[in-house]
Symmetry: C2
Subunit: 225 residues, 2 copies
């Protein structure tokens, strides 16, 4: 049974991202949840910003920004970057964010964030309280630790942060399923399960090797052979 | 250390929602993650849909749709609704989704979903692979079970479903913090903590009462007084 409520922005979970603007020297960072994907080909995103925000003018003038995904471990920093204005202090310094140069845009990436998206504004759309900066994603940077042996990104390893209705939540670490799992043929399911078992075995063997290596390198006397 | 990748839609976590269209009799339902909030006042959202999708024509013609938030328990149904076309079968029937009428738009809400947003399209923007339906949220419906004693929505109770890069993840249940907690004055923190303790005590007392009630109603002989 549902209760009827007046219109509001009750659409969650959303990503709590850090949006950076400016350049490597003079940079701005703000937290945003009013962001998402609007198109696959070309890959496009948006971030909606109140005109009163310090970042607004900087993003509007440059026509560029970077979206940095955040982790549950960064929740307090993310909250701070959403509450305090860049007019008052250098939030990079305050929060210990390390700047990394992008490849395409001038705005810095945040080294501590697991994924950064370089974005170029295609349109600034005034909607009322916010201006939606529609943008093309022109380059993606993902932390090396997120890749598996087949060079596939396992984003569930990142421990991403979600924003829901006034609060921050961590994501679970275990996938409930991959896209298409509800309609997968039994044959494909079996094949995937076999692949997964093979990978687990390989992983276990590698761990074993690593252990042996460690013992061998560290304390030679402990190795019998 | 980050690896540089070609442009892609690597922005997560996103909500895995069920978008309904049509009316109570002839309805369509599809899964979408290309959705989010674009404006706070008036509350506005969007959903980006490929023109080839069955729902596309129905939403475009009606200029209305409903966004239904989903839970981790519904992951398989959500996946199915994103893989199979409404041209092939009635997914409401197949998935056991119960329709509820909205108040403003004709598209049905899904009873099993914890939150439904009635939306009215303001613009259809062709971006390439997808058309972004920008829309005003004209009414919100939230399940009674999500409200606390002070009639505040506790969305973390819903067990919402997130979509990340080809897979479904549950959300954690414990808030890492509420918006603004990183800059909260110690006085306010203390006040909030006291309120929280009071609420917990009240809850515990209520539980105690309920337990007694149950015993009293069910097995009178067990109550000594």
């Amino acid at each position: 049974m549902k209760r009827s409520l007046k219109p509001g922005t009750m659409l969650y979970p959303l990503p709590a991202v850090l949006v950076t603007g400016g350049d490597m020297e003079h940079s701005t960072v703000m937290t945003a949840a009013w962001t998402g994907i609007v198109n696959s080909d070309p890959p496009m995103t948006y971030v909606s910003v109140r005109p009163g925000r310090y970042s607004y003018g900087i993003i509007k003038a440059a026509g560029e920004f970077v979206i940095n995904l955040t982790t549950a471990a960064m929740a307090e920093q993310v909250d701070y970057a959403g509450c305090v204005s860049g007019r008052k202090e250098d939030k990079f310094e305050k929060l210990g964010f390390v700047k990394e140069p992008g490849e395409v845009v001038k705005a810095p990436m945040i080294a501590q964030c697991p994924v950064s998206l370089e974005c170029r504004v295609t349109e600034a759309k005034e909607l009322g309280s916010h201006t939606m900066f529609l943008a093309e994603i022109v380059r993606v940077h993902a932390d090396e630790s997120l890749f598996d042996k087949n060079d596939r990104i396992c984003l569930e390893k990142a421990g991403l942060l979600a924003y829901i209705h006034g609060g921050y939540l961590p994501l679970g670490t275990r996938k409930l399923g991959t896209f298409g799992y509800s309609v997968m043929k039994p044959k494909t399911q079996k094949k995937k399960a076999a692949q997964s078992r093979k990978m687990s075995l390989m992983k276990a063997k590698n761990k074993e090797h690593k252990k042996k290596d460690t013992v061998f390198t560290g304390k030679k006397t402990l190795v019998s052979k």
